[in-house]
């Protein structure tokens, strides 16, 4: 091992930078969490103080549970996010496999076309999307959101996954063909497990913006029964008065599922089952 790699100063600097970044990233989350357990007065008097005997209260959580149908919003968000991830990963991986595996005319062009969406923000098309949803009668349904988010997530998914699929050994796919596996079996049984880390990356990239989105739920599905969590939390933010206890409590609860999903996917990110398949 080289000495440079073990230089304690370097290693200290690296850790200091990482810890500083972690603190900066976690600080807002921390502030939201502690303030969600404090009285309104305490929030404004000293936003950074931890809740103590005087200032501790669950009023925010109680308001959230009473007002609005929090669990329905929660469920809506969950359905939209999970369904979108499913479709993005399924269709994205299939398109990526086709682009990476098969030689056909216009392969390159098709790849560029599919990647174009990365550069063009989907919100530019909001008006057209709304018109389309109105004419198909999908407004105020979760399908409207799932379809839009799937379209929004596919370009990056295809782009990332096709790069990874190119790295899967050709010999392995060919061995499957010689053993009589269908192209679908090769895709689902051989290739997908090998690109699992890439799939997890795509899932994480897509999940967070969808979960946090306010724009499309507000425009396409603002009805009470299709409200998502982010939209639902907006009832506590008024033009003149904002119920900060409730807002912070709702946000705290909204963080949880994303964290759980993230933990699930990040495990996949780390796990490498590929070793031993090919040298």
């Amino acid at each position: 091992m080289s000495k440079a790699r073990h230089n304690p100063l370097n290693s200290f600097a690296a850790h200091a930078a990482l810890i500083a970044y972690t603190l900066i990233a976690l600080f807002p989350v921390f502030v939201i969490l502690i303030n969600s357990f404090k009285t309104r007065k305490a929030i404004f008097r000293d936003p950074l103080a931890l809740p103590d005997g005087d200032s501790f209260t669950m009023i925010g959580y109680q308001t959230v549970m009473k007002q609005g149908d929090f669990f329905l919003y929660f469920q809506n968000s969950m359905i939209v996010t999970v369904a979108t991830l499913f479709f993005v990963l399924l269709f994205g991986a299939m398109a990526a496999f086709a682009l990476a595996e098969y030689r056909f005319k216009g392969n390159m062009l098709m790849g560029l076309y599919l990647a174009l969406g990365i550069m063009i923000p989907i919100r530019i098309g909001t008006v057209a999307i709304l018109e389309m949803m109105v004419s198909t009668g999908l407004v105020n349904s979760l399908w409207a959101l799932i379809l839009v988010y799937t379209a929004q997530g596919l370009p990056l998914a295809v782009f990332i996954l096709s790069e990874f699929m190119r790295q899967v050994s050709d010999d392995l796919k060919n061995a499957g063909r010689i053993d009589g596996l269908s192209e679908y079996t090769i895709f689902f049984r051989l290739v997908l497990p090998l690109v699992r880390p890439a799939m997890a990356t795509v899932a994480v990239f897509n999940m967070i913006p969808i979960w946090n989105d306010l724009w499309f739920p507000l425009i396409l599905a603002p009805a009470e029964e299709t409200k998502t969590l982010t939209l639902g939390s907006q009832v506590f933010i008024g033009q003149f008065v904002t119920d900060w206890n409730a807002v912070l409590s709702a946000l705290s609860m909204a963080i949880l599922p994303v964290m759980i999903l993230y933990v699930i996917f990040s495990r996949q990110l780390i796990r490498g089952i590929t070793s031993g398949a090919v040298k």
Binding site: L181, P193, G276
Partner: protein, 331 residues
């Protein structure tokens, strides 16, 4: 019966012609080795035979049946890849059984064939392991086992030993030779390693730039190469080519002398200075600068004491020389 017949097979990728009018017959039970420098099309030819690539034109018959439009799985072939290409999520047993399961063979027949193949390749102890728990040599044996259980009409090997270290390569080579004798099956083997080619083949096919340069038994190819390319490619160290004028011959011809036919001799016709000596123990390779920027290699049997910069004279057996014209064709 012929195991494989290629007639006029061509393959091009876009404008690049990779295989040009390949005609070839493999008899039943024959071990045929495709050999050639990298990029000569030998792996492509194997993939065309297996059906992984389609031909651009020409016919392929396997076991007397035209397979031009038959998918790889139904061609009666099995293939062993350089990178092993084992299914990472399956155990050794499942890896070997997969193809038979796809063919919907009865369960007890599958078990029997897997047991037989694993006994043959001494894999019985590893049947429940996954590929990641095996060493390189074991993995390649599993890959071979996966081919054996299918009982194909034709085995295809795509540089199966390239990923193994030297000792293992020799063992696995012997194993493949033994397997060929035991099964009596027809095999096609692609390699760039001429030792593998010489030791395993019944018939060697030398390829260059997508063309067959020569087909013949290893000794035929070694003793009687069709042209300068084959003469140079087969044999290690490779053949020396001396302009005939240096030896009092006519202009424009080259004399090909294999290193082992040129020995140190005080009255030798080739004189020069030693530039390098390779002591291999069993043999000694002496590289001699014979003028005109030519380095001549002589292979002395046993250990021979030669010093760099020493003046040396070599003589050769005229009966063993091959004459080539300036285009590299044999005369």
């Amino acid at each position: 019966m012929t195991a494989l017949k290629l007639s006029n097979v061509c393959k091009s990728f876009g404008k690049v012609e990779v295989l040009k009018n390949i005609d070839l017959t493999v008899e039943e039970g024959e071990f045929v080795v495709f050999v050639g420098p990298s990029g000569c099309g030998k792996s492509t030819l194997l993939r065309v035979i297996s059906g992984l690539e389609e031909t651009t034109s020409g016919d392929i018959d396997i076991g007397g049946r035209s397979v031009n439009d038959v998918p790889p799985a139904k061609r009666g072939i099995a293939m062993v890849f350089q990178s092993y290409a084992l299914y990472p999520h399956l155990t050794v047993r499942e890896n070997m059984a997969l193809a038979l399961k796809q063919e919907r063979k009865p369960k007890d027949e599958i078990a029997e064939r897997v047991a037989e193949a694993s006994r043959m390749l001494s894999l019985a102890d590893y049947l429940d392991r996954r590929p990641s728990e095996l060493s390189g040599g074991q993995r390649q044996r599993v890959a071979i086992g996966r081919a054996v259980v299918r009982e194909p009409e034709l085995f295809l090997f795509d540089e199966p030993l390239s990923n193994l270290d030297a000792a293992l390569r020799m063992n696995t080579r012997l194993e493949i030779a033994r397997l060929h004798r035991q099964l009596g099956a027809s095999m096609i083997y692609v390699t760039h390693d001429q030792i593998e080619a010489m030791t395993l083949a019944d018939k060697i096919v030398v390829l260059r730039d997508g063309r067959v340069e020569q087909v013949g038994s290893p000794m035929e190819i070694y003793n009687n190469p069709a042209n300068r390319f084959v003469a140079e490619f087969i044999g290690s160290p490779s053949m020396n080519f001396v302009p005939a004028t240096m030896l009092g011959g006519p202009e424009g011809q080259f004399v090909g002398i294999r290193p082992e036919y040129a020995q140190v001799n005080a009255n030798g016709r080739l004189k020069g200075k030693v530039v390098h000596v390779e002591n291999l123990g069993g043999d000694t390779n002496i590289l001699v600068d014979i003028g005109d920027d030519l380095t001549f290699t002589s292979r002395m049997f046993g250990q021979y004491n030669a010093q760099v910069d020493q003046e040396i004279a070599l003589d050769f057996d005229e009966g063993k020389c091959l004459i080539f014209d300036k285009d590299g064709q044999r005369i």
